[in-house]
Subunit: 274 residues, 3 copies
């Protein structure tokens, strides 16, 4: 279970992560980056993104509230990160929901090699197939991964990784983290996490932190981050008191990540490799 | 007390709400939308707002940190929502405080029929009279609704609804929700809510969710949402522990909305119809 | 210990503070402004900033996620504030990290007299020396103020105040608040505050509120605000329960500020004057 050491490496190396992200969940993204032991910097002006990317050890692009001003900034930051061989995580929020989002995600994927793409199944399908059933920022019910369609879903995840030349992290009721050969099937998490805005964005953020601290093992690092997020959702849920709801749950998830150790992960992670 | 069923309809129908909103309170707006059972999507680029509006079942426009880029996006989204007969809620944050805010709110009101306008008394006066005493984002003391001026205030609310061709929700120490014929006078809420940023924005968000789930009854739906917000403020306040202040109060209000039922509303709502 | 009265003045005068700030920590900045007794308004469009500044009693400029659209708005707001003799606080987030940030901070400092600059030691060095070791948004280890280099650091703080013609607040493990003659050395705070995003931005916000409520004593007001922030960090830390982490710590710091009195400050402030 050596992969969990990658979690401790975040705290040991404290990578600086450059985020170009949406303004809805950006504060949680910053706090979750600090919680897992990394350091966040947010900057999205074309006139400074290359410098910020160069200062950082990893780049996390999230298209959640993309606009005409930030799209070129994302592309410029991606080019600089690629030049410096820094890992890049792409969160294609809402790909498949609008032409602009699908196109922007594609443009980023075509501009430079992306280390990891983390999204829900509908978003990943939209990237692979050019169309999707994305409903707002949630996966379409018809797309959802379950015990019934798991074999097909694992094959799809590996194919998507091959096609997009990246590590793929598909999160939902069951999470799949795959490269073209190996697929981690992860059963951590709680359905109540979907009532907290930004748990997907937060997962992408800790994935970027974990890969930046373990740049030679993006698949294991991404799988660890996805397990950590799901396990934090479980442990935080157990700590909820009567009358607490989604706002406090949000705080407890981040609190839990702040205290989560490699040992906790060893004990709590539920996964198999296919 | 049938109006409270409109609250349960949000959870039953889970409407997707498109928000073009300010970046100060956007995270709370997203979490409160999830808390009441709806689903939020934030998008403000001119190149995608029409598609997002079309995917959603309701539109919530909040001019809190409006800018030259987002104003045309708000107008375009409003036009698409009107075309599709989707309800539109407008929160004219700071109308009366600057020419740009008053003008933008007017432009939106003149472009398409707005289902509901939710603001404080100074903002609504600014929209109706073309001038106001708005002080920053708070109502001016001279404008405030009290037991003494209630009859006049109810008449004003009905006139404003008639003039702006909308349902009006005026929130403050006493809340008024009116169309041109009927005015709900609501006495839920706590003065401490004004020390939490964005309780007004949150009220607009759940109003949009409640109207989207009850499109044929905008007045009852808006009244229900305003009562729910006020009641959540009361119940959350009772749950505050020693040493807790406005940050925790914020979380407990959203937590309370997350668990609030139609039964809670029946028990706790304090209103009369005039 | 009369300086602590300046803290109560915020609650007595309830100044309205105009913030042009970053979208990462803006919600916390708004809630902390309310917590200390002031009222926040956020507005960054060139078309309305002068009006908003004129309505307010103080201006807080934070360059955390500056962009080409907001830089001219900051300059325009600064000019209006100067015209009206309103206090201006500048938080030069990331100065020294990029050319754009260093240049923008300089442009603001050269455009009008700034009442107080609050930053970490690397940011202030970047402003004074034209270069810095800023690492992302944190101070460089080599720059940090400690017992060993304290005399030199105090001299530097006074020189920086003289050179930039402002009150300087340098926050870190030891905080220095200085004009050209006097330097407050403040030993409040907790190292864990650096794992909460935006405690620096929050400190700038309450500094702006405290100076706006005490415009004739910017040095004492800034020192009081810096002590209040540090003390809130200490008291909030004592209230943390097992399993709570940086997200709850964030809330408890704001909660503590919401209840902090001049008496608490008298008891808890740890400072000397050099």
């Amino acid at each position: 279970m050596q992969i969990f050491n990658s979690w401790e490496n975040i705290r040991r190396k404290k990578p600086l992560i450059h985020h170009i992200t949406n303004y809805v969940t950006v504060n949680d993204v910053a706090n979750v980056t600090l919680a897992c032991g990394a350091s966040p910097i947010m900057a999205d002006d074309l006139g400074e993104v290359a410098e910020i990317t160069a200062l950082a050890q990893g780049l996390c692009l999230n298209i959640g509230t993309l606009n005409q001003r930030t799209i070129p900034a994302m592309l410029k930051a991606a080019q600089k990160a690629d030049e410096l061989n820094h890992p890049i995580v792409l969160d294609p929020v809402g790909a498949g929901a609008t032409v602009l989002r699908t196109k922007t995600a594609h443009d980023i994927l075509q501009a430079v090699p992306i280390t990891c793409v983390r999204g829900n199944i509908s978003e990943i399908k939209a990237l692979v197939k050019g169309s999707g059933n994305t409903q707002g920022v949630d996966a379409a019910p018809a797309d959802r991964i379950s015990t019934e369609n798991l074999t097909t879903a694992c094959t799809f995840a590996k194919q998507a990784a091959a096609m997009l030349k990246t590590t793929i992290a598909i999160t939902g009721a069951i999470d799949l983290v795959a490269d073209q050969n190996i697929c981690y099937v992860i059963r951590n998490g709680r359905p109540e996490m979907s009532r907290v805005t930004g748990t997907g964005c937060q997962c992408s953020a800790i994935t970027a932190a974990c890969i930046a601290a373990n740049p030679d093992e993006p698949l294991a690092a991404a799988a660890t981050a996805v397990m950590a997020m799901g396990l934090a959702g479980e442990l935080a849920y157990e700590n909820l008191r009567p009358k607490e709801g989604n706002a406090t749950y949000r705080n407890r998830i981040i609190d839990t990540l702040c205290r989560l150790t490699a040992d906790d992960l060893k004990k709590g992670a539920k996964y198999e490799i296919r």
